[in-house]
């Protein structure tokens, strides 16, 4: 068995590296650079029941080692994703994780029920953490009761395992993780972006037309690592980690924190080859660390038996 192969609910990944939702569209653009077959999986752009135009521009602003975005879940809507985007992706040998968003529980249920029937969709990522839409999104991800309700409702209709994407914009992320686990989530993906803002000195106003936006990029990696370290010790479902991943070293850090697979977001914009470069670099890095299979690293930062082992050497 390949030392990078990872099995998670619904997902048999040839490697644990995948582009994160919203940073890769539906793959068409990046397929001009490399074959998408190389990827472990693809988390495609959030899909809502109806098409959405999203927010006015400017929608992005750079920050120190990061960026803010307020795209606003622009997408062509469920029907076109089913008819055009997912069939196009089926020519690649790569499982799709469909990111599902909505303004009401009914929206989530409608999208989840249908999109989970697509042949190449092997799992859903329930987006209850988008900070850039007025209703829905983050509203579901910051209140435990609604997070429970929407997860449970989607689980009932989905034909594939459901991963819930957690927001870092909460007081107690462990509580949120436990709540969605109890509601039946098969896995977690974390973290979504952190709410932030930049103000233009010339105009005196926020740069983003939406005012606030979601912070991503290397700047947020320590926040994600800390949260995964906490959550992975408190739940029994796997975590796909994300936030500022740029290199194979970053991927290892995520595994040590407690992740079982890792998604790459903003780095795709900086270097379109980030995912294949990381995949290529991982085996040599595992050799360096004296690790045979990447899954051995999951949670090592807090597993006491590993501390004992390492100190006895």
């Amino acid at each position: 068995m390949s030392r990078l192969r990872v099995e998670l609910p619904g997902l048999d990944l040839k490697n644990p590296i995948m582009p994160a939702s919203g940073c890769f569209g539906f793959g068409r653009e990046y397929s001009q650079f490399y074959s998408l077959d190389q990827l472990g999986a693809i988390m495609v752009k959030a899909t809502t029941h109806e098409p959405r135009f999203g927010n006015p521009t400017p929608r992005v602003a750079e920050t120190t080692s990061g960026m803010l975005n307020a795209i606003g879940l622009q997408n062509p809507g469920l029907e076109r994703v089913m008819v055009e985007e997912l069939p196009w992706l089926s020519k690649f040998d790569v499982p799709i994780i469909a990111n599902v968003a909505g303004s009401t529980i009914e929206d989530y249920v409608t999208v989840a029920e249908e999109i989970s029937t697509a042949e190449n969709v092997h799992a859903l990522e329930l987006n209850i953490s988008c900070p850039n839409v007025k209703e829905g999104g983050l509203a579901f991800g910051t209140v435990p009761e609604t997070a429970y309700e929407v997860t449970k409702a989607v689980k009932e209709v989905s034909s594939v395992p459901v991963y819930v994407k957690l927001s870092p914009n909460v007081t107690d992320i462990v509580q949120m993780a436990k709540v969605v686990e109890r509601a039946g989530a098969d896995g977690l993906t974390m973290i979504n972006t952190l709410l932030g803002m930049r103000i233009d000195l010339k105009t005196g106003k926020p740069i983003l037309a939406n005012g606030a936006g979601g912070l991503s990029g290397p700047a947020i990696k320590p926040v994600a690592i800390r949260m995964i370290h906490q959550v992975s010790q408190q739940v029994n479902i796997p975590i796909i980690g994300m936030g500022g991943v740029q290199s194979a070293e970053d991927v290892i850090e995520y595994f040590l924190a407690g992740a079982s697979a890792v998604a790459v977001g903003t780095a795709n914009f900086v270097d379109p080859f980030t995912c294949p470069t990381i995949i290529d670099a991982l085996p040599a890095l595992l050799d360096e660390l004296g690790v045979h299979h990447i899954s051995e690293l999951t949670g090592r930062s807090w597993k006491t038996e590993w501390n004992l082992q390492s100190s006895s050497h």
Partner: protein, 255 residues
């Protein structure tokens, strides 16, 4: 589109905070068209993080060189301005759709209108139009005399009228006061108030405007740089400035 690790051949400040950089890579060739852009990584670490979209000012296919002119204003372009010849400059390109040079015919007239840092892509355009036998005229607007550049270079292809907002060089005022109303084509690149003012120019064959917008990926994936489509009643139709543009025919998108 490709990712090219180019070599910086030369770089100099040609007007106040306006830099001209020439890069070399063996894959820089005729496929780089006027009006397209390159997405440039400035510096080597994660700060600044994102690439900067910079228009293509000129391409010398035989030498595999590309010239870009930019204003060192924000963090990224200031870092780029510090880079010295010999260093690697990582760029994605050519990106987007440029000006429809192939539509023009020998003997036709084209008016090229540039505003500030929107002037550079018109240089490559002017050269290519001239090669086809199109008669070109230029009207370029700048804020003030210290930021005027490339006047002599453009003169090699056709007459040049310069305007400055403060009247310190050329004609005082804006480009819109200096337009010849008989051109077959109008091609423009500049700030959006200028493009709006030019949108209703009555060229006989077509008006093409190059837009500017903050970008993320530069290749059409992130949807940061979208604009609405004129006449679209659903509100859902859109164009991406990076991959559908940056050049659009006047009337296609909402400016």
């Amino acid at each position: 589109m490709k990712q090219l690790k180019t070599e910086l051949v030369s770089q100099k400040e040609i007007a106040a905070s306006i830099y001209e950089a020439v890069v070399f890579h063996k894959e820089i060739d005729e496929s780089f068209q006027p009006g397209q852009f390159v997405h440039v990584k400035t510096g080597f670490g994660s700060d600044p993080l994102l690439r900067r979209p910079i228009s293509i000012c000129h391409v010398e296919p035989s030498k595999h060189e590309l010239t870009m002119i930019y204003r060192a204003e924000g963090k990224g372009t200031k870092v780029l301005a510090e880079m010295v010849p010999g260093v690697e400059v990582d760029l994605l390109g050519p990106l987007g759709n440029g000006f429809p040079v192939e539509k023009t015919m020998e003997g036709e007239t084209a008016l090229l209108v540039g505003g500030g840092i929107g002037v550079p892509p018109l240089y490559y355009l002017s050269q290519e139009l001239t090669k086809r036998g199109v008669n070109v005229k230029h009207v370029h607007g700048f804020q003030t005399s210290s930021v005027v550049f490339y006047e002599e270079k453009f003169k090699a292809y056709g007459p040049v009228t310069i305007t400055t907002a403060d009247g310190t060089y050329g004609e005082e005022g804006f480009v819109t006061n200096q337009l010849d109303m008989n051109a077959d084509y109008l091609f423009a690149c500049g700030p959006s108030p200028m493009l709006k003012a030019l949108e209703n120019y009555q060229a006989k064959k077509g008006v093409y405007l190059s837009l500017e917008q903050r970008m993320g990926c530069g290749i059409g994936a992130c949807l940061a740089c979208v604009c609405h489509v004129q006449g679209d009643e659903t509100g859902f139709a859109y164009r991406k400035v990076c991959s559908d543009g940056p050049v659009f025919q006047a009337g296609e998108v909402v400016l």
